[in-house]
Amino acid sequence: MKKPSLAIAGLTACSGCQLTLFNCEDELREILERFEVAYFPMGQSDPDPKRHYDVALVEGAVSTPGDLSALFHFRNASRLLIAFGTCALHGGIAAQKNRSTPRPALLREVYGDRAPQLESFPPAPFKNFVSVDAAITGCPPEKGDLLRLLGAVLAGTLPAFPSYPVCLECRSRENLCLLLERNQLCLGPVIQGGCNARCPATGIPCEGCRGPVEEANVAQELELLLTRGFSREEIERRMSRFTVEWDYGQRS
């Protein structure tokens, strides 16, 4: 059977999702063996950007015209386009001020007089521009999710990831509930699980790195945190860290 060809690329990002591939130390050789690595500048020279890919794993948010044309390229050239990581799926860390500060002001802050020369728009997830076939969430993504996706692609399908919130795994691991018992600003109830509640397991509240769970009762989480004494400002600041597009009135 012909090996599926694989493209791995990044837009506006920290390269963490691509690094996650390298971090599959036990499986990396197997992956490189079973896929034809067609485009992967971070790991392989002389990428050939013109051809067709079976799967493109693309990380990062879209925030420049260059990002956008790269995204269109990968959409057009690939049978399966995978939004790889929270930035690609929800905008991620770079988009956190999209609602609060205009882009030019942010640019000026950092680049001063050079700002107007930079072509940059508010970082946005892939779904604002193209359709994606599947997504792996997480900042950083879980190795296991990446491996499940690659395994599924080899089998001719896409993985079914669970749709429960962080709390389910958190409780099942018998962590202390930081929200109820420590009165900490934990976003677990409205955040997509699958990380095995990594952060609460070490005693740190969930910062929401995997983005909203499918049926988040956002309004209730907000109410809950407000009654526990957090200010609306602080809550929104925290919630927008990885996903800026919350509907604070959503109840389902």
């Binding site: 197997e30 080899l154 429960y164 709390c167 409780r171 018998e174 962590n175 005693g203």
Partner: protein, 325 residues
């Protein structure tokens, strides 16, 4: 066969060490972060006998949160090789024992669940009497016969009673540490549960339903921590080298995905799902229709971040205990 005996407090550590001969000893402990949980008693210092309830009930020993149920290899599905080891679970309260008996009915009835059955056969249960707190809602702390051995706390020790032949063997092995005791009085029946409810109630128009549906954050804690919740989801994944595994994972009936089908959802609103939860908990699903599975452990009340308590839907016009179907 002596089936009941007296164990003095001083002998408890030695008694526990005797139990190790019957399997790896597990019992209630307190985690570093202060969570009560059943865990291996690698050292007896870890034992926390004064515990109220563990976060996750003993069901985790029989039906873990995430379990590889089948493996696919070379064109066939098969059970993964059994990993279950003989375990003595010490210090289980009567409500949790009752819950395990309920799960036994679910998973050991025809067709028996082989993975559950294997683990169950390897699990010995030692019950212990308890002191209820504000979250408990059983009628009164009771003993239980749903175990191999039950310890009832007395002033300076425990009344130890064998409830199975395995329990009797344990007593025998520990004979040196025990003194004979008068036969215990007959057991009161299982600890009080919320009596079985008429399914009609699940469809009542009580405004409380909408209130609950509005405030449930959908965290899933209630079912994870419930000792008799056992809904599970099934997911399959393929490895890189071919072959695959089919997982079972705890599910929660309040998740939208629970009733979703292609093109719709049979329980579209959270209120529909809350009604389902009520039905499953207090009315019982076939073949356990007419049985309430609530054992009164109080976990759901303790863990729900928004204080949802489905029993409030019953309270107002509760029928007499046993008045259900």
């Amino acid at each position: 066969m002596e089936i009941s005996a007296y164990l003095a407090n001083d002998n408890l550590p030695q008694f526990l060490d005797t139990l190790r001969a019957f399997g790896t000893l597990h019992g209630p402990t307190l985690s570093e972060s202060g969570v009560s949980l059943f865990a291996p008693l690698t050292s007896l210092d870890r034992l926390d006998l004064g515990y109220r309830r563990t976060q996750i009930p003993p069901k985790k020993y029989l039906f873990p949160f995430r379990d590889t149920f089948l493996e696919y290899r070379d064109g066939r599905y098969r059970f993964p090789s059994g990993d279950s080891k003989r375990t003595v679970l010490f210090g289980v309260h009567a409500c949790d024992l009752e819950a395990l008996a309920y799960l036994d009915q679910v998973f050991l009835s025809e067709p028996e669940d082989p993975r559950y059955a294997e683990r169950r056969a390897n699990l010995l249960l030692v019950g212990i009497s308890c002191t209820p707190d504000d979250y408990c809602f059983c009628s009164e702390p009771a003993g239980s016969a749903r175990c191999d051995l039950f310890l009832t706390e007395q002033q300076t020790g425990y009344l130890v009673q064998a409830e199975s032949s395995a329990g009797a063997s344990m007593l025998k092995a520990a004979a040196k540490l025990l003194v004979s005791a008068p036969p215990a009085p007959p057991r009161t029946p299982a600890p009080c549960v919320i009596p079985a409810q008429d399914p009609e109630r699940a469809y009542s128009r009580d405004p409380l339903w909408d209130e609950f549906a509005r405030s449930c954050v959908g965290c899933g804690a209630c079912s994870a921590c419930c000792p008799t919740c056992y809904c599970f989801d099934v997911r399959e994944s393929t490895g890189l080298t071919g072959g695959g595994s089919r997982l079972r994972e705890w599910d929660n009936c309040l998740f939208q995905s629970h009733g979703a089908v292609a093109g719709g959802n049979f329980r579209p609103g959270r209120v529909d799902r809350l009604r389902y939860r009520f039905l499953h908990k207090y009315c019982g699903f076939s073949p356990l229709q007419g049985r309430s599975s609530c054992v009164g452990c109080g976990r759901c009340k303790e863990v729900c971040p928004v204080d949802i308590d489905l029993r409030e839907l019953i309270g107002k016009t509760a029928p007499e205990p046993g008045g259900g179907r």
